[in-house]
Amino acid sequence: MPVLPETQAIVLGALLGRVDSSAAARLLREGRALPAARRLQIYRNNLVESLSDALEAVYPAVARLVGARYFRQLAHGYIVEHPSRAGNLHDFGSALPEHIAGQPGLVGLPYLADVAHLEWACHEVYHEADSEALAPALLAQVAPDMQLQLRLNLAPATRLLTSAYPVLRIWTANRPGADEASTTISLEEGGVHLLVARRNGEVEFRVLGDAEYVWLRALASNATLAEATAAAIGHVPDFDLGGVLSRHLSLGTFARMSAGGSP
């Protein structure tokens, strides 16, 4: 009878703190010096520390906002509730924003989940697929009356974010290497729409206007230029399509375009 699956389930359960570790310790030899339970604890500490380090590497501003000690506690809870599901850590930590939103101890930092969303977007954008920016000349080749039927695809290495809080200012004041001197940010400053993108390998932010955000969000959901523009005009009647389009063409926000028709 195979015992390997059961052995591994008992050991990993103990390392994650999901089950009492005495069953796992019974599978192990008593060491010459240290008892088996103590030896198992070394693996348990390694697991919690290395995965907490991985979370902190992706969420440095969150860690700074809550303090190192609280972040370790938060990370520990996260590791047990949302354990790693792959042999690489690229996707580990994706649910931390939602996990933060569910922590009663963090209601005093209502913007924290949005800061986490921003940091996860940076992480994803940094590792996303490379693409060539859509050349403005290519768009110019399309007859003006046909242009509105185009769908413009955002580059893979872009994310759109919106927050009711000034998250970019909060993040900037708490990012790695930020000045220790305290910056006063009033939550009354209001929210922000952001485009997170990549230029020469580094992550960059663009603050977006209300209508510009609605427009890009619609294009990202595969709307045609006409549909996206209609949505934007619904928000801001004097939406400047020409200006916004040329801004994002020069920023390299788009990777491809395709003819209209049904999506």
Binding site: V3, L12, G31, L34, R38, S84, A86, N88, L89, H127
Partner: protein, 293 residues
Amino acid sequence: MHPISPRPTHDLPSVAGIGLRAEHCAEFITTMPAVGFIEVHSENYFGRGGLPLQILERARRDYPLSLHGVGLSIGSADPLGAPHLARLRALIDRFEPALISDHLCWSSIGGVYANDLLPLPYTTEALAHVVARVQRVQDALGRRILLENVSSYVEYRDSSMPEWTFLAEVAARSGCGLLLDVNNIHVSAHNHGFDPQAYLDAIPRGAVCEIHLAGFITRSFDDGKILIDTHSAPVADAVWALYAQALRRFGPTPTLIEWDADLPPLATLVGEAQHADRIAREVTEEQRDACPA
């Protein structure tokens, strides 16, 4: 079955290389230090694009590459991860590494990963399982892989053979090569009370295709001390001595200095690699003197 082309390991020079870590990348590709090869953790390059892959591409133009995995979980009772193998295969196709390796360990069960190198019980069941999995991995990648012995802090009551027998049997039955981590032998020998020389003597001469060296720390408790493989320190004197013993047995072998935590300046790593080369030269000369042509 795909025919496995055991791409010759002499693609790698028998000189020392270093593990290339993100913090050193910019300096590395600007200064291009004189090391024999570079090794990276394959999983760090599982992203779809961006700077890390571009930098690796730049470094690869001037250095032979070894892709060293930490997440294959070869000893797990779970099915092999098809997405993991597909991403690894894509990396191999793009970067054409001289060597591909992972660890003789398990990291996951029930789809949940510890992302750590957990030791196996050395049983006949585990041996048959690992041998079959190595063969499936080699078929999926179309390449021979190397398996590395891990440091361990626990042993299973179930184990019916020593680690060195298990490792030698995996290599003999599956056809994989071995990446012998001399530091891990030293650490485990201390933690479990075996003779590191006996470990070396049990490993077949032709199976070792790469050697790893790294630093460990000592943790002391009221009831004893244990060595922990942290990759956070210089190679210890006892490990250099064991390295010389390994070279006497296995001959000149591509050797890698690993340093992953509390990273020193790049120059320190390069210095450790040069020290490994000095030891290799001394052993070669000593052997030449012992049996003159």
